[in-house]
Symmetry: C2
Subunit: 111 residues, 2 copies
């Protein structure tokens, strides 16, 4: 078999993966995150986001945001926007984070 | 506003995020990964996976697999399956990795 069956290299989208360690209360972080996401969801090129929390009971301060954008340029414009920067300050004050951009190589969903 | 608009806490799914640093050729890793995924896609509870590669030119050995499963138990059964363990050996021989399970808190997609 080859990788061709699952080929996702022509999807064009990029995936922004942002891992957070949260220092505030989870409730406060999630509220602020929803506000940021409301802004981001209105920007050109936004496709979807999912904020998830570790299921490990010893890592309840560990969150991950997985966001899809149509292209790198749209994502860059959105994060450079003053409206995002204002919100991002609130996030940065309550977390440490590592964010990375990825491009899909393989993908498969059951029907 | 509240986080309720984006509430994803009742989806029930879990997200397995696995970050890889690849020591073999990318082509070889992707071929083996597709074989593992072919097995996983047939297991009860599998929903979808996307294997992506860093777009950073200095991190071309950095991959991330984002896989959705209907529930933790199905994922645990799949990774404990001898059919998976045989494949996983091939992956482990070519990578270092960090895998973590998450549960969705917020989600939103544009139509």
């Amino acid at each position: 078999m080859s990788t061709r069956k699952y080929d996702a290299t022509d999807s064009g989208v990029v995936t922004f993966v942002n891992r957070f360690t949260v220092h505030s209360s989870p409730e406060e972080f999630e509220k602020i995150f929803a506000e940021v996401s409301e802004f981001m969801a209105e920007q050109p090129g936004f496709v979807q986001y999912t904020l998830s929390r570790s299921i490990d009971r010893e890592k309840q301060d560990s969150y991950i945001n997985i966001a899809l954008w149509t292209d790198v340029e749209s994502w860059e414009k959105a994060v450079a926007h003053p409206g995002f920067q204002d919100h991002a300050k609130e996030i940065r004050a309550r977390t440490t984070n590592v964010g990375e951009l990825y491009a899909p190589r393989q993908s498969f969903s059951v029907k």
